[in-house]
């Protein structure tokens, strides 16, 4: 039995937990406001909000693409669709239906044309209002970076964001983001009762107890497989699997449930990597970052996995539930081949705390700068003292069958003076270590040039710092 609350109604269902939430919402619950655009997380038309109970008894909401959200992953949570945030209307209100402030701002600015993307935008923007993020149009823009609109050209939508920024007081004046949203009619009153209802639900909640492939956020497993995914065995992490990031004893340890958004919101992590917000903005979208785990990125083993490149440069180690430890740069044996048994699950990820005078940078180029898979990517952690590179680790993705550390390049650069001539010489070595192939992400020739440019960019960024 999967149990959750949708809008203001409880759901109890014996439905296949592998079913994508979108399908369940549209065809079982008959809530047609949530739209199907792509079924692979790339358009945002299916965006819903998922609320999860926090330690303090609050509900924390985030936007997700329901086409990639397994039904099993909303067990014990609050699911909100566009029907659940629209102000109540009476049957007599045939015209002039009441709108929430988000909807009103969109309407005032002509930000809906064909309307098919519109509920998704409304949900992403409402999700922003329910988040801890401060109420700025820049933050609202980030909130809609996973929503594609083919009609408007986005400017009218951004004008709606500006209107919302001007309209609301700062959230800090309220007890919680949910209180802020209720007080300003962004969401209906019933949101106030949800925490109590979720606590009551949790009291009687049974774990799903399934066997099979572990699902993190589902943002890899569910892509282009929503019709076959119902026929395989999956296991959901469940509410016990809590995201946790610990920084102590010279190392950083993250639990397997840690998502990109958790890292973005974690104060200690942001202090370590002040550019993480900027860097991770290049990776997928708000909705996907809210779901995607770092562990899932590693196990997916894509040659262009962005977080794999990121953590390779940080010399991360994977800790399995079997207590076996494998250095990330030893995990990949070949294309999508891992030093991992089918049963082994990542329990945690660990990496040594970079020294305080080290420099870190991440580079990624894709056809579209955001919400796109890299043509090539690279991360670099280095220590430069008196213009001499005393320590360096550079990773590269998209230039071989697996994400890789450029060992030879780094060995050459270590203890060399940081000059253009040295970099040029190092790039010759880089070219000998990589083996890119021509594919949808670019020709071999392009990727060879690009990786050189990205490595140069690390040093340019270092000089600019």
């Amino acid at each position: 039995m999967i149990q959750f609350i949708i809008n203001n109604k409880p759901v109890n269902t014996g439905h296949n937990p592998n079913t994508p939430l979108l399908e369940f919402i549209r065809y079982n619950l008959n809530l047609k406001g949530t739209k199907t655009g792509c079924n692979e997380g790339d358009c945002g038309a299916c965006t819903v909000l998922i609320g999860e109970l926090q330690n303090g008894g609050n509900i924390k909401y985030q936007s997700q693409t329901s086409c990639l959200t397994p039904l099993g992953n909303v067990h014990g949570k609050h699911v909100v669709t566009v029907e659940g945030i629209s102000p109540a209307k009476s049957p007599q209100q045939l015209q002039n239906r009441p709108l929430s402030p988000v909807q009103e701002a969109m309407c005032n600015n002509y930000a809906t044309q064909c309307g098919f993307c519109t509920p998704g935008f409304v949900m992403s923007m409402t999700g922003h209002c329910l988040s801890e993020q401060s109420n700025t149009s820049a933050n609202l823009k980030v909130a809609i970076d996973g929503n594609i609109c083919r009609c408007t050209g986005y400017h009218s939508i951004m004008r709606a964001c500006k209107e919302l920024e001007a309209r609301f007081p700062e959230k800090t004046a309220f007890g919680s983001p949910v209180e802020f949203a209720v007080e300003n009619n962004i969401v209906p009153e019933y949101f106030k009762n949800i925490p109590g209802e979720i606590v009551a639900l949790h009291g009687a909640l049974k774990t799903l107890d399934l066997q099979g492939q572990r699902v993190g956020g589902g943002t890899d497993i569910y892509v282009q497989k929503h019709d076959t995914v119902k026929r395989i065995s999956l296991d959901f992490a469940g509410l016990q699997n809590i995201p946790a990031i610990e920084i102590s004893n010279g190392k950083v340890v993250m639990s397997s449930a840690t998502t990109v958004t958790h890292l973005r919101e974690h104060e200690g992590f942001s202090r370590l990597f002040p550019s993480f917000i900027k860097h991770s903005k290049l990776v997928s979208s708000t909705q996907i970052r809210n779901m995607a785990t770092i562990a899932g990125n590693f196990i997916n083993a894509s040659p262009i996995g962005d977080f794999t490149a990121f953590f390779l440069a940080l010399n991360a180690t994977v800790i399995f539930d079997s207590d076996r430890r494998v250095a990330l740069n030893k995990l990949y044996l070949g294309y999508k081949k891992l030093d991992k048994s089918a049963e082994e699950r990542i329990a945690a990820i660990e990496f040594p705390l970079p020294s305080s005078h080290s420099f870190f940078n991440f580079e990624k180029v894709s056809k579209r700068q955001h919400l796109d898979i890299a043509s090539a990517n690279s991360a670099c952690l280095m220590v430069v003292e008196d213009m001499v590179i005393t320590d360096i680790c550079i990773s590269a993705g998209g230039v071989g069958p697996t994400p890789m550390v450029l060992n030879k390049t780094c060995a050459f650069l270590k203890d060399k003076a940081l000059t253009d001539a040295v970099i040029d010489e190092a790039l010759v070595i880089t070219q000998s270590e990589i083996a890119p192939i021509s594919d949808a992400r670019g020709t071999e020739q392009y990727k060879r040039l690009l990786i050189n440019q990205l490595i140069k960019a690390h040093f340019i960024e270092y000089r600019k710092r």
Binding site: T36, C107, C114, G153, K367, Y446, A457
Partner: protein, 760 residues
């Protein structure tokens, strides 16, 4: 006084806004499902070209829940859905002509059973070599129809007198429509062999005709109903027919409702896109940079069947000069038949492809001569009274738009600022380009320029309007409602615009060619005016006057000689009803003055032209080979916009779509004709970060009369072509970094091409 001369307040938001925003608007996949409905899935050919030896459907039919698998032999009527040319089977019979060509249609109890069973169908196809390149197809004589040529003056003679002559090649790639709502249809059998089909189509009549043929049932038995589309952009003008015909065939055969809403992957693989073009140009200029002669050969990649390619090709020829006067022109276009999905209408309809080539030729000349391309552009802008190659004399606003843009935005200063920036920055370079446009409004097929509107006034004074217009986000229903409200002098609240339905309005032209509001709006205006005149007579009796001209309906009240009377709209309607006055009217509009002779390739095909000038500025990151569109500044000829909110939205949206076509959007087929960019993860349209930092749109100040509805010029397609400026602006920025960069005139300018050019 006549109410139609009154200006409409241009602030009416889209009448669907509230239901859109609340998620209550109904699209095809939201229509409540009737009990017993079955679901379809269509198998596309796995190979691009071949002979079908066998299709084994036994395993698929054995899947529990599968009702039937249809193949070509199950078609009761004709296996033919071609519109302009009858060359397109609904389901492949003997031969397959493109990857994704519909081969079989599975009908099952649920959509996932249907999709699962579809994958169990075994096709045995003898593969032949596919042709994907239009030039190769032309060499092999594979043409949809013979080439067409537009001629003006004497090109050969003119070239002899040119001071400069250059020759080159320019290519532009296709473009996926990527309407966010995929294609689909829902067919529901009715009594007596009739059938109702809900279709996500821009062309209900085209769907009706295709279904009629496939079922072998007359058109009067086939009701097509369209509430709205989640985007069309031309992709659902002709290519909605297949899914409707498949559902109708199955529903008719099984006598149960059948629905098929396409999966995104199937939609992208099975439907055609904007036509890629490869073109050769030869351009001759005088010493003072007047273009004297232009010869151009277009190789249109039409795909496997005609679809709308002949009409698209025609518009390429009409727009091959863009907005320039060239006294000697020879433009030839070949519709090349390849083994790709039949390419189809896409906003601009071949016009942008033609304009890209002349702009490329001008850029080519500018680079060779070391002059500023904007100089050449400016000197050659067409003037009122000058002809295009098709001989229509133009009422030109080309200069006016250019001057207005130059003044408002200070082009000189922009150029200076860019030079300074480029001087000061090593890793970043800026570039700019100007894109003047001219786009002809009307279907180039004169016959199609007509529309009807059926207007009912009910006895309580409420009004329903049905037209042939399909609402797909362009706001046409809002505009029609505005026209009716102003004409009848009543509050918009009293008016409902109904779904587009072939039982209510017959023989419609598709919602396309930017002309939907003009044609259907005028039809509604005609119907409303006729009704109003009848109501005026009724009111006149009651007011004891015979001077109908002195009566006016405004704000739901009747005015006599500009003075409010006690009569209300409702009262007059009720009296009319009691007096048995007809409260229903069918308005018919056919665009006057237009004509075109295909034999001589001469005539007056367009009701009017739309002009505009845009200035695009970009910054290229020369380390990473990526770019940002900093700003686009536009002076646009709206005529007199009747709804600036909607019209500005069309400009911003069209511009961004054009920028996408020129920059990120790359349709990729492999050598075997299989689509590689087959999902949103591999085909990238602009997102919120890739749009211009600022978009400024100023209306051209004009008081000229025009033939548009309420003088509010068509605005759907023209702005897409402002996007072409982004291609040339990026090119200029690359040249600022590497003056020797070798850059083929080959759009889109992807980051890959940009980086390779920066370091070439």
């Amino acid at each position: 006084m006549s109410a139609t001369n009154e200006r409409i307040p241009p602030t009416q938001t889209n009448i669907d806004s509230q239901t859109h925003l609340r998620g209550e608007s109904l699209y095809l996949d939201d229509i409540p499902i009737l009990t017993g409905t079955l679901f379809g899935a269509c198998l596309g050919s796995p190979v691009a070209h071949g002979h079908i030896r066998s299709i084994d459907i036994s395993a698929a039919e054995a899947v529990p829940g599968v009702i039937k698998v249809f193949t070509a032999k199950d078609i009761a009527g004709e296996n033919e859905i071609g519109g302009i040319i009858q060359d397109e089977p609904l389901l492949a019979d003997h031969e397959v002509h493109f990857c994704g060509m519909p081969v079989a249609f599975v009908v099952a109890e649920t959509w996932d059973i249907a999709r699962y069973a579809m994958k169990q169908i075994i096709t045995d196809i003898e593969e032949h070599e596919p042709v994907t390149c239009p030039r190769k197809a032309k060499e092999l004589g594979m043409l949809i129809h013979p080439p067409r040529t537009h001629r003006l003056g004497n090109v050969d003679e003119a070239f002899e007198n040119c001071h400069y002559i250059f020759e080159g090649q320019a290519d532009s790639n296709g473009q996926e429509h990527l309407y966010i709502e995929t294609q689909g249809a829902y067919a529901v059998p009715q009594e007596n062999g009739q059938i109702r089909i809900y279709s996500s189509t821009q062309g209900p009549t085209a769907v009706q005709k295709a279904v009629s043929k496939v079922l072998g049932v007359p058109q009067h038995s086939i009701e097509i109903d369209v509430t709205r589309l989640g985007g069309g952009f031309g992709g659902k003008e002709d290519q909605a027919n297949t899914w409707a015909a498949l559902c109708a065939m199955a529903a008719h055969h099984l006598q149960v409702p059948v629905k098929y809403a396409l999966h995104r992957l199937d939609d992208m693989a099975m439907t055609g896109k904007r036509h890629p073009y490869s073109s050769d140009f030869k351009i001759g200029l005088s010493e003072d940079l007047k273009i004297l002669a232009y010869e151009v050969t277009f190789y249109q990649n039409s795909g496997a069947s005609a679809d709308l390619s002949p009409a698209v090709l025609e518009r390429t020829l009409f727009h091959c000069n863009n907005t320039y006067y060239i006294p000697n022109v020879r433009a030839t276009a070949y519709p090349c038949k390849t083994h790709l999905p039949p390419n189809t209408a896409f906003r601009g309809f071949g016009g942008p492809q033609g304009m890209f080539v002349i702009e490329s030729a001008i850029m080519f000349v500018a680079e060779k001569l070391g002059v500023d391309a904007t100089d050449i552009q400016y000197r050659n802008l067409i003037q009122t009274g000058q002809p295009f190659a098709y001989r229509q004399l133009v009422d030109s606003d080309a200069q006016n738009c250019w001057h207005a843009a130059a003044n408002a935005f200070n082009i000189g200063q922009i150029k200076k600022d860019i030079a300074v920036f480029n001087e000061q920055n090593e890793h970043y370079k800026k570039g700019m380009a100007i894109m003047p446009i001219c786009f002809g409004i009307s279907f180039t097929n004169t016959m199609m320029n007509n529309a009807r509107a059926l207007v009912h006034i009910y006895s309580d004074g409420s009004v329903n309007i049905s037209t042939g217009a399909v609402e797909m986000g362009q706001g046409v229903n809002t505009k029609i409602m505005q026209v009716a409200a102003v004409t009848l002098g009543i509050h918009p609240r009293k008016i409902k615009i109904l779904s587009t339905n072939t039982y209510r309005v017959a023989n419609t032209s598709p919602s396309a060619a930017s002309a939907t509001a003009d044609l259907n709006g005028k039809a509604a205006q005609i119907a409303c005016t006729a009704l109003l005149n009848r109501l005026k007579e009724v009111a006149a009796q009651q007011l004891n006057t015979t001077e109908l001209d002195h009566i006016c309906f405004k704000n739901g009240l009747v005015y006599l000689d500009d003075a409010e009377t006690a009569l209300t709209w409702e009262a007059v309607v009720m009296t009319a009803f009691v007096q048995r006055v007809a409260l229903t009217e069918n308005g018919h509009y056919a665009t006057p003055k237009i004509h075109y002779d295909k034999a001589t390739e001469q005539g007056h095909p367009f009701a009017y032209h739309v002009f505009g000038t845009s200035i695009t500025e970009v910054t290229v990151d020369c380390i990473r080979g990526i770019y940002d569109i900093d700003s686009v500044k536009i002076v646009h000829d709206f005529g007199e916009s009747m709804n600036t909110g909607i019209d500005m939205g069309q400009i911003e949206g069209g511009l961004v779509q054009g920028i996408g076509w020129m920059t990120l959007e790359e349709v990729v087929y492999d050598a075997k004709g299989k689509l590689r960019s087959n999902a949103l993860s591999t085909y990238k349209v602009p997102d919120v970060y890739s749009v211009p930092g600022t978009i400024t749109i100023l209306p051209l100040e004009t008081d000229k009369d025009n033939m548009a509805i309420l003088k509010s010029k068509a605005v759907g397609e023209p702005p897409l072509m402002y996007g072409i400026g982004s291609y040339f602006a990026i090119r200029n920025a690359i040249k600022a970094f590497n003056p020797n960069a070798k850059i083929a005139l080959d759009a889109p300018m992807t980051p890959e091409k940009t980086l390779m050019a920066l370091y070439s």
